[in-house]
């Protein structure tokens, strides 16, 4: 039953309250408010789908939907309050390693859609500053949900992407006054670096794996668990190593588990080190060199063989994190353009100096005026999709 999650949340809330967290409002822990919001936000499937479409700009918000969204004003207010709290501890017990259940992610995503849909509604009513505030709350939710796992960081990234589209839309609709734009600039300047979110998740993967790589743990890796995680030896070398592997796992071989931990840590550190490299170089290392190295090792070393089924799609994740931060950089650059328009009455001929850079190339974005406004285009390609991203910004005539 769906309400079971509600029960857990309620009990968690009661428990947290007992621990003295709910002594005052807002609480010290933002998660308490988010859990509370998830309990209060229970739209029908139909309404949920409409709100989702409204948030992504697929449908216009009609009167009926506006009424439904306004009915959740109390939830939205608490989400904004939660966004203002520095600490967010979801109380998830990660001692189950990668078998840890993350059942709340779906609820968080739904709450973020409610925020963004309301931001679009406020924008349509001409309440631009309030609309931006809700986008800030969504970004904070994205930051808060990005706990210690890569997957929660990715959910945060997808919330941020939705928020970016909404901010872009608001910027196109609002009157371009310097005071309002400076406010938006300050707000965007305070957004956390989204790439760092993913780096935290990488460290988290180390710790999750440790739960299974500890020979003294009751959650230690066993041959059957390996099978459950989808491991199948394919090459002859793997089949040969598999026997050794099964033996070492069955005996909970201390030395082997230590080697396994060391190997895993070394590989994750290799990936983390790539984040300091320019995009193209990092992409090459993450998507080709390191995976090849792991594959080659896995044909010789049982610890590398075991690392493979555990390894998340780190190259893909890297590209997504850069794309997310780049989208924010493009919006920051666009705000500078709008500021020039606010001051001079017309769009600038070129991108103002000192704008945020295109992370795919490490250079400035390309700026081009269009019939509807302007575009900010990357100079570098996103290598995974083999695509040059461009971001459109509108200017009302």
């Amino acid at each position: 039953m769906r309400t079971n999650l509600t029960i857990i949340m309620l009990i968690a809330l009661t428990g947290l309250s007992g621990a003295g967290v709910l002594d005052s409002y807002p609480p010290e822990n933002a998660a308490v408010l988010y859990y509370k919001c998830a309990i209060q936000y229970m739209p029908s499937d139909e309404l949920k789908s409409k709100i989702s479409d409204a948030a992504t700009g697929v449908i216009e918000i009609d009167e009926e939907l506006a009424k439904e969204i306004n009915g959740y004003e109390h939830v939205i207010k608490e989400l904004v309050d939660a966004g203002g709290i520095a600490k967010c501890d979801w109380g998830i017990d990660y001692s189950q390693g990668i078998a840890t259940l993350l059942s709340g992610l779906s609820d968080i995503k739904n709450l973020s859609k409610l925020l963004i849909a309301d931001a679009r509604l406020l924008c349509s009513e001409g309440k631009y500053a309030e609309a931006i505030n809700l986008c800030v709350a969504a970004e904070r939710l994205a930051s808060h949900v990005s706990d210690m796992t890569l997957i929660s960081g990715l959910v945060g990234t997808s919330i941020s992407a939705m928020g970016d589209k909404c901010v872009t839309h608001i910027l196109g609709e609002m009157p371009h006054e310097a005071k309002q734009l400076l406010r938006v600039k300050t707000i965007l300047g305070n957004f956390e670096n989204r790439v760092d979110r993913i780096k935290v998740g990488l460290d988290g993967e180390k710790l999750l794996a440790m739960v299974h790589f500890d020979p003294r743990s009751e959650m230690r890796m066993t041959p059957k668990m390996l099978k459950e995680f989808g491991w199948k030896p394919e090459t002859d070398a793997e089949k040969k190593l598999n026997k050794i592997l099964i033996d070492k796992l069955s005996r909970a071989d201390d030395v082997f588990f230590n080697e396994l931990t060391d190997y895993w840590f070394k590989m994750i550190d290799n990936f983390i080190a790539c984040y300091d490299l320019p995009y193209a170089e990092a992409y090459g290392r993450m998507n080709v060199e390191i995976p090849e190295m792991i594959f080659n090792d896995s044909q010789k070393k049982p610890e590398a063989t075991l690392a493979r089924p555990f390894m998340p799609a780190l190259g893909k994740i890297y590209s997504l994190s850069i794309k997310s931060q780049n989208s924010l950089n493009a919006i920051k650059a666009a705000v500078e353009v709008y500021l020039v328009k606010a001051k001079t009455g017309k769009l600038p001929g070129k991108l103002p100096a000192g704008c945020a850079k295109d992370l795919f190339s490490g250079k400035d974005f390309i700026y081009e005026k269009t019939a509807d406004g302007f575009v900010i285009r990357c100079q570098g390609k996103e290598l995974g999709d083999d695509k040059v991203h461009e971001y459109e910004f509108k200017v009302k005539k």
Binding site: D81, G84, A86, R183, T186, I187, G189, N190, G354
Partner: protein, 174 residues
């Protein structure tokens, strides 16, 4: 304090010696306040941030792998704590003008223009300025806190000062 002494102090702190942690905190206090100040633009709030960040650092010091990177690690904690503080304050303060805080303590137009120029720097550049001028940190101290070379600091500061100078000229209409 030599590098060797500092590493020993960090190791002692990791092993449970609170006084060693205190010595390290004292050594880097001014630098950390400067880092926080570069984000939050208010000395008193920056000091609060650093005090809180030290608490986080104490609880997390066991996770510090490379003992040589203590100062850079501590700086990151302070920077993040300051950003958190800004975010939580954004709720209450209209963010269009965080420099209001500074305006309140200034009655000097030139200082105001300098602060405005600093406000327009990139966050990394702003941090460098605060580190250098907040408490007259030497290049050596800055290098330790940022984990970069003295030569790099010198070069960057020169460029930053040029930027500030240009903006001041614009301000003065030169």
């Amino acid at each position: 304090m030599t590098e060797k002494t500092e590493i020993r102090l960090v190791q002692n702190a990791v092993n449970g010696d609170l006084e060693s942690f205190g010595l390290l905190c004292e050594k880097y206090y001014a630098a950390m306040v400067a880092i926080a100040c570069s984000v939050i633009a208010d000395k008193h709030l920056a000091e609060d941030v650093v005090q809180t960040a030290y608490g986080k650092a104490l609880v997390g010091i066991g996770g510090l792998k490379d003992k040589k990177l203590f100062a850079a690690w501590l700086g990151r904690i302070c920077r993040n704590a300051a950003k958190d503080m800004v975010r939580s304050r954004n709720r209450d303060i209209p963010t269009e003008d965080l420099s209001q805080v500074k305006a309140a303590v200034s009655d000097n137009e030139t200082s105001e223009a300098v602060r405005d120029a600093i406000e327009h720097l990139e966050p990394v550049e702003r941090e460098l300025v605060y580190l250098r001028y907040f408490n007259d940190q030497s290049y050596e101290q800055m290098a330790e806190a940022l984990g970069i070379s003295k030569a790099a600091i010198n070069g960057r500061l020169k460029r930053i000062k040029q930027k500030i100078g240009n903006r001041l000229k614009d301000f003065a209409g030169i």
